[in-house]
Subunit: 335 residues, 4 copies
């Protein structure tokens, strides 16, 4: 009766999802896993008696006792396993990115539409954060009137030397790209990127901070300050300016202190803690909707449009110009 | 393998716990229930194929396939069912109050100790609230030094005509009595109650607001403003004054708005929403610890000491004096 | 045309008031000063050409060109100089305390009433703080309905060894005693003092923190946590609980920072900065009302009632009992 | 000994400054005034015995007993009176705008430099706001490291039908243009203006809201959301993103309320109250520095650069392009 899940990729996030599904959430169990490192795969499931290791991702997908797939492998392999799941007619939850290129994401969209049934969900977990959900409720219920502008900030304490300028888009702003599309129920038509004075705390090859400016089909404006060596903390800000008022994403819950001549709260330093609860909600809802034969979360269309938008942002990083994002009407299939 | 749970009492809270255990939490299933209204009991479990209705609470307790009991019946029956569970050697989760009198709670303590094994957990759910847990972490980790004073407020928008002055203690402040004992890891030695100017918004028979003053064995002072016709919202405040700083219970997460010449957040009007998440955590942890043969949450000793303290507070309401609370060393059994 | 002011006492606060009156405020000038240390007095006025040193306080009071007196001498001499000013029929602004005993303050009240004209203003500067004035406006305009309870805290980072337990009343809580009387337009009828667990950061002879409980003629309840070795900052809190809502004293204006994993503001460490602006407002209003022949601020009656209340609090510190404060109707003279 | 001030223009702001200088501030007195409406001028000074009406602005400037000029006439006349004051060698405080065109402002700069002495101060009062001063102190003292980005919002509840799109720059953002130049000690090199989806609450001829993007010589980025029909209040926001942390302009001081299911503070609806205290500080400091023969506040160079920047913003409103702002090194004269 429980949804029988196969997992491809048992790295950090894969292992977390496996434990979440098996021990914390209801309605699903892990039956098969695989990884490029089969020993690692075996290690991860050693306390799950009903689970086995398969040699390949394709074997997981095709296993008769696997009802649904979770793809948490290396990003470059996502497209293959998602297409494989579609071919097998099985629901698949794919961690971001859906594919490493917009073209790859488009191939998934096309395959899914050709298959005639929505099967793919992309791992944009912010839509499951309690704060963003509260914010969306306020936006949707008309409390602040129509939304006109969204101001965002995405700040990390620091990044390693391997973090390149375009990763500010593909790894960081990608979250805002998706969650603001969802929040506004709108899509993007142009992108521009400003490069402010650079912090001394970034590696020499990295432009940091950056300001990403997005325009939507409805004319709304979104600005995202992305600052990945902000030192002071991991901090996600989002403020929606509406015709009748302003609504701001809640800060994470925290004890208010008066200590050492300071009044206020702690700020998280570790990004992993910021949306930790969202993963539980995300996968529980995926299990529940999958059990009903539905896809309720971010679709492959969402993954595709995020990729197209990210590509325009990266182009804008180097051109300094306002880059158009080709408009594409959302297929009825995804409505 | 799952913990097989029997539930005595299928009223509102009983039904909620049944659905929570069966559909939302992991590691347990409902196998038997009963209620004074057997039709109601049958209705509540109609979508749980593995569950049946038993004619009496005692039958639930004694059923061979029931591993653990949840008591959510009318308060006056709690003592009987908890004693019955102890007699049967089965773990029991009892919604508050543990008993309607301190003497009754003491009989449970005595029976449990005589049985030689901790079996009883009392439903003080605030210990499972994420905010209180953050606050306790700050208190315990020494961030504010030793705790000296705790300022609390417990405010409801309004209460019905049946709410009597002593219910401010037994139904309302009882939560602060338990949670502050736990927060401070201390116990009470005296109680005093002040009756401020009465709000015009209370029924004539009710003293509202009140201020409850508690002193602990360590000399700490706790003041609780209880104001059950505060009109503006359901609002729980708790501030711990320590030697090195002050720590305050977080406000519930809420979107920050700028609208209609006001800047701030909404306040909950409905108390049921304030600690809704705590019940999930509470029962999940009860299931987990019960599965390990342990009692991890509020014990019958905690329930007993809360009852003794509440009795002193009620006495102080009418005497206007400082009422001593007899000190009793915590038995090793409960350490 | 300017009000010609004589100042008795040129210590720290005296010097500040002299410079304030002469250089910062309008409508007054310093013409004569004195001090127990005449050299100090001369030093203080050396850049005020129109001012001279008189040998005694009485000489300042009697000088023909002195229109009004400011008493900023040692507390034990206040009564004498205020009585002298009354005898001379001249308006007098007296820094707190009005007198060192309630009996002394009463002698001033009696003398002033016998003289038939209000002449005395006491230096309770909090009534002139912008935050307290905003709070009083909210209380007075009915926004929160009738006031039922006031929760206060008065916290200092630390005090020296010479600070004794009764000084928590006479030097510290005295400010709350006056400002809450004014805020509520009510007077006190009883006092009680709780002694919580003592902080390790206080000298051994000092009870710290303390909680002062006051009851008013209208039945309102005021609690004041006084904690003079609170380490983290100088912090004044005041929250009024009304029938329809709660109003809280604004925090001092401060830049909101996100830095070093902390979100919030700085807290003042130096009490002198907290109410610095209030002194300007206080003395400007005193100059303006004195020029009109009126007393607009805290009267000698207010100073007297503060002294009576403080005496009851000190008695309660040692008795541990609820000490009655003799009710005295406010004379029409002071209405 | 007092600075003898002549005022040209006795409209609303002129009258306020006259009363401020005469009755509230120290060190100055009004001796002569004029206005296009001489009756109005006479009415305004009727309670100032030492003041007279002159027939023309030039007469005020030339009057032998006038030490310094305040220009509060119609904007189109500012240039003439400021140039006249320079010609007369007298200090002049000119309300904004310094001139109606950048060219006019440049003529003033040139005349002042030719005259060889700084005489002109422009009425940018935000530099005197306690909040901005606190913010500048944090920026200047290195608390947040070097400043990289400034996010601003300037929101009004509503504007009348006569408010045109370019007034968002000349009347509204002009304040941010000056105060951020001062805050950063930097100057602008380019401007861009985004036109988000328009609020339904604006008149049809007005683009509202707008987002103004400024780049500085040091590469810093400033974004200003200007939204003059924001309905909910008059709201000025400013957040400086630095290398080591973020600092935010304090909100105006306000009582914190819990009422009607809302927690927070009131927001001002009336812009006049927001910076009311700044005018006092501004003119007092102008009086004090003028008495010392200095110009301490915003200079004609500041007024000129603000005008040049505003012109580029207006051009960008229609071009949609990034408009360069010609760099001009600050003359040594103004350093």
């Amino acid at each position: 009766m429980a949804l029988r899940v196969g997992v491809i990729g048992t790295g950090a996030i894969g292992e977390e999802h496996i434990r979440r599904i098996q021990f914390k959430l209801v309605g699903a169990e892990i039956v098969a896993v695989t990884d490029v490192n089969l020993e690692r795969a075996a290690e991860v499931i050693k306390d799950i008696p009903g689970a086995r290791v398969e040699k390949t991702g394709q074997a997981v997908i095709e296993a008769a006792d696997v009802d649904a797939i979770v793809v948490t492998s290396w990003g470059a392999t996502h497209e293959e396993y998602v297409l494989g799941s579609i071919a097998a007619g099985k629901p698949v939850f794919c961690e971001k990115p859906l594919a490493t290129t917009a073209a790859g994401a488009k191939r998934i969209v096309d395959a899914e539409m050709a298959a005639g049934k929505k099967l793919v969900q992309v791992g944009f977990m912010r839509r499951y954060d309690s704060g963003y959900r509260m914010l969306k409720e306020v936006v949707d219920n008309g409390s602040i009137g129509d939304s006109l502008i969204v101001h965002c900030a995405h700040r990390n304490p620091e990044v390693g030397e391997s973090y390149m300028t375009d990763m500010a888009i593909h790894d960081t702003v990608i979250h805002e790209i998706d969650v603001i599309r969802w929040l506004l129920n709108d899509d993007y038509v142009s992108a521009q990127v400003l490069m402010p004075k650079k912090t001394k705390n970034a590696f020499s090859h990295l432009s940091d901070p950056q300001i990403v400016l997005l325009e939507t089909a409805e004319g709304r404006r979104v600005d995202v300050e992305v600052f990945v060596n902000a030192k002071y903390g991991y901090d996600i800000q989002c403020e929606v300016v509406g015709e009748e008022g302003i609504a701001r994403l809640p800060e994470p819950q925290s004890v208010v202190m008066r200590k050492d001549a300071k009044y206020g709260t702690n700020i998280l330093m570790d990004w992993k803690k910021r949306f930790i609860d969202s993963y539980d909600v995300e996968l529980q809802e995926w299990i529940d909707s999958t059990a009903k034969g539905e896809v309720d979360g971010p679709t492959s269309w969402d993954g595709y449009r995020a990729a197209v938008t990210a590509d325009a942002c990266v182009k804008a990083q180097t051109s300094g110009a306002i880059e158009a994002i080709p408009a594409e009407p959302k297929p009825d299939f995804y409505k």
